[in-house]
């Protein structure tokens, strides 16, 4: 077990270093960092001095190592467009994105699992057919279209919900801000969260349905029925429990892509999160922010992957044995 954890840890660090090197190449070789930092009228002598001061004359491996070391200390340099430290910019916007991702994940789970169970148990019913049709539409409609549709319905036509922003936020601790404690904040998060959750919800629904159908064919289900257990017990005690392992994996792995997909949602709803910041940096070729965001997402994915792997080993006894044997 410990050998397994250590192996996974090393693999994760390897991925992070690889992504870090890509980020370094982006940072160093796309556009000239000095040109981006100084004005047009800066004399050549000052440029040379700045170049020396930034260490841009050192050999490339030295620069790469320094970049990685700085990144490990969350120092990604100064944004070209905002002239502020990148880590501060990202830090200030992180709570908005994480809060949105969290609410969206909960929504997709709460709606997706029951819908999946229902469509698996009552395959021929009209409601199940409706759910499946909805899931196809959910997969086909681009995220931003769903967002626009919601805005048109609930903000323009009905006027129930605000169409942009985060509402009033409350400070918790030194840097975390939350909109979940104010009325306007709660109202503001509904539409962005639904937009973000819809795709995940269809994914979870389809997965639960497929797993459930698979499990219901298994021998132990037949045996449970033969023992005279009620259908309810068979479905929820035996079947659902066994479908949840793969569901946990997928939900965990999707958490990272929810954060990445929030780029689109944040743009539609002018949500002041990291995704918006990243998009601005792509539009303005602000490489330090792009590099930092890339590393942040990579870090998130690696951590989630690691946790999911470990959870898997903890939940599934067969895997534990296999690991011990290996």
């Amino acid at each position: 077990m410990i050998a397994f954890i250590i192996r996974r840890l090393f693999a994760s660090i390897g991925v992070l270093i690889a992504v870090g090197l890509i980020a370094f190449v982006l940072f160093r070789y796309i556009g000239d960092p000095v040109n981006q930092m100084v004005g047009i009228e800066t004399p050549e002598s000052e440029r040379v001095a700045l170049r020396q001061q930034l260490g841009l004359n050192d050999p490339a491996p030295v620069q790469a190592l320094r970049f990685l070391a700085n990144a490990a200390r969350l120092d990604f340099g100064i944004s070209y467009q905002f002239k502020q430290p990148v880590s501060e910019l990202i830090g200030a916007r992180m709570p908005a994105t994480l809060e949105l991702a969290f609410v969206a994940s909960i929504m997709s789970l709460v709606a997706g699992i029951p819908m999946g169970v229902y469509t698996a148990l009552h395959r021929r019913s009209a409601l199940a057919k409706l759910f499946e049709a909805l899931s196809l539409v959910g997969i086909s409609l681009p995220t931003f279209l769903i967002g626009i549709l919601l805005i048109y319905l609930f903000a323009v036509t009905l006027g129930w919900l605000p169409s942009f922003g985060r509402g009033d936020v409350v400070h918790i601790g030194s840097w975390w801000t939350t909109g979940l404690l104010t009325k306007s904040g709660l109202k503001s998060i509904i539409m962005p969260a639904i937009t973000l959750a819809l795709f995940q919800m269809t994914l979870i629904m389809r997965l639960v349905r497929a797993e459930m159908l698979e499990v219901l064919r298994a021998d132990y289900i037949r045996f449970a029925r033969a023992r005279g257990l009620s259908e309810r017990k068979v479905h929820f005690r035996h079947a659902l429990k066994n479908t949840l392992v793969p569901v946990i994996t997928v939900v965990g792995l999707q958490l990272g892509s929810i954060v990445a997909f929030s780029i689109i949602t944040e743009t539609v709803f002018s949500w002041p999160g990291m995704g918006q910041l990243f998009l601005q940096s792509v539009q303005n070729v602000d490489i330090p922010i792009m590099a930092a965001y890339l590393l942040f997402i990579a870090f998130l994915f690696v951590i989630i992957n690691l946790v999911v792997d470990l959870l898997y080993a903890a939940v599934d006894p067969r895997l534990r044995v296999a690991i011990h044997g290996a």
């Binding site: 982006l26 556009g31 086909s140 409609l141 681009p142 990445a260 997909f261 792509v282 994915f301």
Partner: protein
């Protein structure tokens, strides 16, 4: 060298025409057996035809600034009271006929989608063939890269590639480079699935007798891969390509909607929706509505077609 490939025993005489074979095939039968699939197929065909013949169908050329007049801007559709009979679906803020803009936008969206899928397919198939055939170190390097990329959502990769290529082409005219940048970003974000599938099939195929025979007569690995293995691994690739076409269209639309795709002077469907979103609150609903419906219908039709193709070509479901 096709005589070396293993051909299935034919029960029918080979002289029958191509059309005759299509008429009797299982594929056509399964296509016609589902109404939804037929509708989706017809819709896809209409979209492609509309895109190809857009210059002939469209009343005006929306890309030509000389044919648009600002005085015509924000006209409602013809069938609404106050609509101008010249503009079937109304006009946008530039005075462009929306019906023409949608036709041309469809053309741009489909072109980028198809080229993006072709590029992604070319990269993925090549790397997959090499990885599967060479094995060993090359295989593990290619597949590691694929694994790492697969953990990132395609839209993020596309955005990153877009930003990087933009930075490399700095100073170039956005209008001339946007098309190429989009194709590259879509191609580079969708190659992994092809590579994994092709690698898997190549691993199976490379131990077959016909490959051994081709090797024995001294053919080069490149030739064996291209002429002998490739034709036998193309089935699943076609399915992936169809499903990826829908994804590529969505990706292009999303990038254009986010403002890093096609500029408003040569709008794709995504750009039109981006423009239309600004007028959602002022009551000009048609600018966002019609391009959105077109995009949604296009993606849904291609998706349904892909679903059918996947089931029809899956031997386990027969």
């Amino acid at each position: 060298m096709s005589e070396i490939t293993v051909e299935l025993p034919k029960s029918e005489p080979t002289s029958r025409s191509f059309l005759g074979r299509v008429k009797d095939s299982d594929l056509l039968a399964s296509f016609l057996s589902s109404k939804v699939t037929v509708v989706a197929g017809a819709l896809t065909l209409i979209f492609f035809l509309a895109a190809v013949f857009a210059p002939l169908i469209a009343p005006t050329n929306p890309f030509d600034p000389a044919s648009n007049f600002l005085i015509d801007s924000l006209n409602p559709p013809r069938f609404v009271t106050g609509g101008d009979p010249r503009f079937l679906l109304g006009t946008d803020d530039q005075g462009r006929d929306l019906w023409s803009a949608i036709l041309y936008g469809l053309r741009v969206s489909l072109l980028i989608g198809v080229f993006g899928v072709l590029l992604g397919g070319a990269i993925g198939i090549t790397l997959g063939l090499i990885a599967g055939y060479a094995g060993g170190r090359i295989d593990s390097i290619i597949m590691r890269i694929a694994d790492v990329q697969l953990t990132f959502p395609a839209i993020l990769i596309a955005l990153l590639v877009d930003g990087v290529v933009q930075a490399l082409l700095k100073g170039q005219n956005r209008e001339q480079t946007a098309f190429g940048i989009l194709v590259i970003s879509i191609g580079l974000s969708f190659w992994v699935q092809y590579a994994r599938t092709v690698r898997g099939s190549t691993l199976v195929e490379k131990n077959r007798d016909y490959v051994q025979a081709a090797r024995l007569i001294g053919l080069s690995p490149a030739r064996i891969l291209a002429r002998h293995i490739l034709p036998n691994v193309m089935g699943p690739v076609l399915v992936i390509a169809t499903i990826n076409l829908a994804l590529a269209i969505i990706t292009e639309a999303t990038l254009s909607f986010l403002g890093v795709g096609l500029p408003p002077t040569q709008p794709s469907l995504g750009t039109l929706i981006r423009i239309g979103q600004n007028f959602l609150f002022s009551g000009e609903w048609w600018i966002v509505t019609f391009p959105s419906i077109t995009l949604a219908a296009l993606v849904l039709a291609v998706n349904l077609l892909g679903d059918w193709l996947r089931d029809a070509l899956n031997p386990r479901l027969k």
